[in-house]
């Protein structure tokens, strides 16, 4: 029996069109727009001026506070302006626009392909390096990695969990990284283990990536304490709490963090970025992005410089298909619909999905037939139908008691509802209201 999480879950069609496509380098665009807030926490402070010359890897915005990281230039060239743009979320935010000239990197960066396995830095140095190099969780949540690596006083971590699940349909960037850069990923994991001072790491990979599982198993034989665990294919297997439960049978209590059950979770892409930062001195200024869609001529996986407009990626994949009705940044279950194709690729962009018109809409919302399927699929054991109706009726205190804040917005309920009800839309409304209410209580 393959391991998995115990409550709920759904099986959306996998559609991993690009699982066999090798990672290619995307051409450097003529201009990049690099937002200063690409992570959860305080936005970085701009540290360049218009007209400044920058090199790839140079800091252009410095971290502000502990839960924040540096932002680096992804190209060499001149700063054209610091202005606002519409980002993935659909909101305006500040970005640094750079006109590209050549491709010059900071001299300190090791640009060779040579594999460096010896870890010279100490635990504290690794953590510091992560913040300086702008490392954030690359699974999509973009939480600064050094914060997770800093175990708070009084708590301990005894096992590192690596998320190679990639349970979202379509996305294959982590899958390709494991296949093509398996050694680097494993060194990255060893670095993370050293930072956390643990001697055991578990990599969870969904069983639909058997080639990656076999490959990493072979490689892991020469690494200390790294175990590969195939997991049952079930969405949302890659959700942090569900993954911890599947691999260790520990259940993160409501409102708590993985460290409360002595674990820390990092993503495959993050492990690779940590390798590059620590061993190659290369800050995070490019990442692997899956560009895919059923009507796209050449879907694939690309290494993309941060700040590259999405339309460059679409061009490389054969151009925007006529019938495109929606563009998603991230996976179809939790990703965000983009407002236009000028939106830049950021650290959290794991994939871009072009959805044909006939699949882009929603069906009409009908009456609830109380089929209870939303409850059966909720991985947190919540009652989505109830949370939706409480939110609609402004009964937020009641919604709080029904643990609306436990919802991680995986979308399994809305996906399943046979009446096509927008369950998650209303739960989000209720959840954000409840969070605001509880903050106000603290202030009082």
């Amino acid at each position: 029996m393959l391991k998995t999480f115990p409550i709920g879950g759904v099986h959306p069609p996998e559609n991993k069109l690009t699982a066999g496509s090798k990672i290619q380098k995307l051409d450097i665009p003529a201009t990049v727009a690099i937002p200063i807030s690409q992570h959860i926490g305080a936005p970085a402070t701009v540290s360049v001026n218009k007209g400044d010359s920058v090199k790839a890897g140079q800091v252009i915005a410095t971290s502000k506070g502990f839960v924040s990281v540096n932002i680096h230039s992804s190209v060499s060239g001149k700063v054209n302006k610091v202005d606002t743009l519409i980002d993935t979320s659909g909101y305006k935010q500040t970005a640094i626009f750079i006109d590209t000239q050549g491709d010059e990197w900071l001299e300190t960066i090791d640009r060779t392909d040579e594999l460096k396995t010896e870890i010279k830095l100490s635990s504290e140095e690794i953590i510091k390096k992560c913040q300086e190099s702008g490392i954030v969780g690359l699974g999509g949540a973009t939480f600064p990695s050094h914060v997770k690596l800093t175990v708070p006083a009084g708590k301990k971590c005894d096992v590192l969990i690596i998320n190679g699940v990639e349970c979202e349909p379509y996305l294959t960037s982590d899958h390709r990284l494991m296949l093509e850069h398996g050694k680097e990923v494993l060194v990255g994991i060893s670095i993370l283990m050293k930072a956390l001072k643990v001697n055991r790491a578990l990599i969870g990979i969904e069983n639909n990536k058997s080639d990656a599982i076999e490959h990493l198993k072979t490689l892991a034989a020469s690494f200390q304490g790294i175990e590969i665990w195939p997991l049952k294919v079930k969405y949302p297997q890659g959700a942090e709490k569900q993954l911890i439960k599947a691999l260790t049978n520990r259940e993160v209590p409501s409102g708590r963090l993985p460290i409360d059950v002595n674990t820390v979770v990092h993503n495959i892409g993050t492990a690779f970025a940590v390798y590059e930062a620590v061993q190659k001195n290369k800050p995070l200024f490019e990442r692997v992005v899956t560009i895919t869609g059923k009507s796209l001529p050449k879907p694939g996986n690309y290494i993309v410089r941060i700040g590259t407009p999405v339309n460059k990626l679409i061009e490389a994949a054969g151009g925007l298909p006529e019938n495109t009705g929606k563009i998603i940044s991230g996976g179809p279950m939790m990703g965000k619909a983009l407002i236009n194709t000028d939106v830049p690729v950021v650290k959290g962009t794991s994939g871009i999905i072009l959805v044909p018109q006939d699949e882009a809409g929603r069906s009409e919302s009908q009456v609830c037939i109380r089929c209870a399927k939303c409850i059966a699929v909720c991985p947190m054991g919540l009652e989505p139908y109830l949370l939706m109706s409480l939110s609609q009726k402004d009964l937020f205190e009641k919604a709080e008691k029904e643990r609306i804040t436990d919802c991680m917005e995986c979308g399994s309920c809305s996906y399943t509802c046979p009446a096509g009800r927008p369950l998650l839309d209303f739960i989000r409304l209720g959840k954000s209201t409840v969070i605001r209410m509880s903050r106000e209580r603290v202030v009082k």
Partner: protein
Amino acid sequence: MSNILKISLSPHSHSPETTRKLMFGVVIALLPALLTSVFYFGYGAIIVTSVSVASCLLFEYLIQRFVLRKPVSITDGSALVTGLLLAFNVPSNLPVFIVIIGSFVSIAIAKMTFGGLGNNPFNPALVGRVFMLISFPVQMTSWPVPGGFGTGYTDAITGATPLAIIKEGIKNGESLSQLVTQIPTPAQMFLGKMGGSLGEVAAVALLIGFIYLLVRKIITWHVPVSVIGSVAVFTAILWLINPEKYASPMFHILAGGVLLGAIFMATDYVTSPMNHRSQIIYGCGIGILTVIIRVWGAYPEGVSFAILIMNAFVPLMNAYIKPRRFGEEVKNG
């Protein structure tokens, strides 16, 4: 760019399941039982079922169109399912006018007055059935015996159901071993060769429907298994105490409407509880009440009443019995 992009919140993907597909899935699951019924009871089964389905659809249409003045939604399949289930719960020789009255009570009173699909607290088909049982006790308890496909409609030969035979016999002081010649064998009951409601007789056909519902994931096992299981356990205890007075669990499950009730009536989405914990309590409640009514009550059969009584507890269960929350109990291993 000529395309206009759609913007919406996640998820951007939806399962192919719809309300209509689920309802028609139930209809498909009912087909084996309908076909065996036509095979055993002949024209009567066809007439009663057609009238019931047609009048349920018609009443829903008329009420939505002319009384509520709302969009008509009879194509969602829910009235079709109610019509079929209502027919399944009556004798195959029931006069047409009674079937129409039953349909009216099911749709107009039990369903539409509460706000239509999704809002009715009681199972519409069972409300209709119980209304007919109380209003037309003679017609509702004259059961045609299986006579094959050529059997006529109102001229069918009638007899008592196995449950009525033992209820009457025990009341007259006979023991079960004396009654055994009058009741069908378990094999006959399994295949449906006994008097009873149009759709309840053939256990085998109902079980085929059950498997289909499970495979299509239209229902889960919780309600049916807890109904059948609790009937089995409760009647087994009684049977072990005195096998001359109390019938065996096998008899109780195969005779009467336990299977039809457990698989198709108690699992009605709208009127059953929302999580697995309460579904099991609800199912056991139905099973226990059924046996109590059958053994000690005035009626030989109690499934309909048991389900309706438990329907009344569903809002309470939904409010107070919660699913197991993730992170609720701290168990670290």
